[in-house]
């Protein structure tokens, strides 16, 4: 996958974007002059120190936040307000606790006014695909953290968005569940061809899943380096972990992050 610069073929185009937050005490620059192009169908991971502006970047792309300067284009259209042609997964599952797993997934359809029968079929497909079968009618508090996150993922995929934004979706999971979710997400991405922007703190996760890994500096976030992940498209988990390309990419990112956080 190559980096396409400034052409209409980009799925996401962030050009020279800065974000400043005006709080009572001081002005905080969260993102400084960041440019980034993501090709359709590409999987891009974003890593960086805590508080550097990763979530802010995703909110910019979704239109939940306006940049102080610069511009964001999504699927060829400039982002001016909240966009509906995306799927968003937050760090916390953010489920409605009075709705069952299935009805939480279907919230997406109800809000959009999608055809109910069709949405129901699609929800069942996703439930099957993410291994939630048998838990359709469970309430969120009856589900494990991993299952809740799967519900959130299904909800974000229900309307078949062309761009999927994920903000540390697996941060709260144990290592094993996290690996399973990684494998699942990889399969979903391969099957759907969705463009994915994934913010994560896990270096292994960022490399295993992505075509490219964007390493950000400490706040204000500046793109520190872009790592092209040189791995085959089809990725078996343990086989991938054992590959030298995987080892070199993770080592490079670890170095960069160490240098980035150890600045003072």
């Amino acid at each position: 996958m190559s980096v396409t610069l400034g052409t209409a073929t980009s799925a996401v185009e962030i050009s020279d974007v800065s974000v400043r937050f005006q709080s009572k005490r001081a002005e905080v620059t969260a993102v400084e002059r960041v440019s980034l192009d993501v090709a359709p169908g590409e999987f891009v991971s974003i890593v960086g120190p805590s508080g550097c502006g990763k979530s802010t970047l995703l909110k910019l792309v979704s239109g939940l936040l306006k940049p102080s300067s610069g511009s964001v284009t999504l699927l060829g259209e400039p982002v001016r307000g909240p966009r509906h042609d995306i799927g968003f997964v937050f760090q916390r599952a953010a489920l409605l606790e009075w709705r069952s797993a299935r009805r939480n997934i279907l919230l997406q359809a109800e809000m959009r006014g999608m055809n109910a029968a069709e949405a129901g079929r699609r929800a069942d497909e996703l439930i099957e695909m993410t291994g939630l079968s048998g838990f359709e009618n469970a309430l969120p508090h009856e589900l494990s953290g991993g299952m809740q996150q799967r519900v959130a993922l299904c909800r974000a995929l229900l309307h078949q968005p062309r761009v999927l934004l994920m903000d540390e979706p697996f941060g709260a999971l144990d290592a094993l569940t996290r690996e399973q979710m990684n494998v699942e997400l990889h399969r979903v991405w391969r099957e759907t061809g969705t463009t994915v922007l994934l913010v994560t703190h896990s270096i292994a996760e960022s490399v295993y899943l992505a075509n490219r890994v964007i390493v950000l500096t400490r706040r204000p976030a500046v793109v520190h380096e872009v790592i092209d992940v040189d791995l085959p498209a089809e990725r078996d988990y343990s086989a991938t972990m054992a590959r030298p390309e995987f080892a070199s990419a993770t080592a490079r990112i670890r170095d960069l992050l160490g240098a980035v956080t150890g600045q003072d």
């Binding site: 909110k59 979704s62 239109g63 939940l64 909240p82 966009r83 509906h84 995306i86 799927g87 968003f88 937050f90 916390r92 953010a94 409605l96 606790e97 009075w98 919230l107 997406q108 109800e110 809000m111 959009r112 006014g113 309430l139 508090h141």
Partner: protein, 271 residues
């Protein structure tokens, strides 16, 4: 949760025996205090006499109970609807919030018993001034709890809703309002007990029916047994209305954490 009937009964017994025992103890003390002559009978009538009177004058009391209950429910329902409406307006508009808050607070701190006569002057001796006082008493907790509930909605949930593009009405109906229900119910439970007080206060000021009137009459006639009977009936009305709301909450919000917490504590108590 599905429990077998025998289990359910044991649950009911387990939950009720402590308050029942306390009530019995209070009655026993009341009986002892009056039976031993520690307190003169004209100051505190014996429980036997009070409950005897309750049974004898039941049809008389029933009529007045119904009047007070009617005023209470009417006041409560109006306060509930109005309260939720005002709360929604306040949450969605900064201007309305900043304008309404001082007025609301003022209306809350003003002693209702002091303005009740005014309502009698304006509205006469019918049920209307009592309902108005009940509304005034019950309104505030509904507004405060609903505002808190509507504001406590997860911001991420609202952001998610924005990306789903349902618009403000769908977001309110499907996300914001249901999320506010636990708070709303807490407010309604406080409100219904205050509505009873409001109705009785309204009756004190100018009335020829209702439990407030019964108490006022009994007081004038130094009829302490009737006074006690009236107090008991008023308390029962308040408790019954409260329990009805509690039941409605249980049925409507089985998912809510405070309900689940109850199940956890029973488990802990058993273990």
């Amino acid at each position: 949760m599905s429990t077998v009937p025998a289990d359910r009964w044991r649950g009911v017994v387990e939950r009720t025996w402590r308050p029942a025992a306390l009530l019995a103890a209070c009655l026993a003390i009341w009986h002892l205090v009056t039976a031993t002559g520690m307190v003169e009978a004209y100051l505190v009538p014996s429980p036997a006499k009070t409950f005897g009177l309750l049974a004898d004058k039941w049809s008389y009391l029933w009529g007045h109970t119904w009047v007070t209950t009617y005023e209470t429910i009417l006041g409560f329902v109006i306060a509930g609807l109005l309260g939720v409406l005002v709360a929604v307006a306040m949450v969605y508009s900064r201007t309305i919030e900043s304008t309404a808050y001082p007025i609301l607070l003022f209306a809350q701190v003003i002693p209702k018993i002091a303005i009740a006569p005014l309502f009698v002057v304006w509205l006469g001796f019918g049920f209307e001034p009592k309902v108005v006082v009940a509304v005034l008493m019950a309104f505030f907790p509904v507004v405060i709890s609903t505002v808190t509930g509507l504001k406590s909605v997860d911001t991420e949930m609202l952001e998610l809703a924005a990306t789903m593009g349902g618009g403000p009405v769908k977001t309110f109906v499907k996300i914001r309002f249901p999320a506010a229900l636990p708070h709303l119910f807490a407010g309604l439970k406080v409100a219904v007990t205050l509505a009873v007080t409001g109705a009785v206060v309204g009756e004190f000021v100018g009335s020829n029916e209702g439990l407030g009137y019964v108490i006022l009459q009994a007081n004038g006639n130094m009829d302490t047994p009737m006074l006690f009977a009236g107090l008991i009936v008023i308390s029962v009305v308040g408790v019954v209305l409260f329990l009805l709301l509690d039941l409605a909450e249980k049925l409507m919000l089985p998912w809510h954490a405070s309900r689940r917490g109850a199940a956890v504590t029973t488990l802990l108590a058993k273990g």
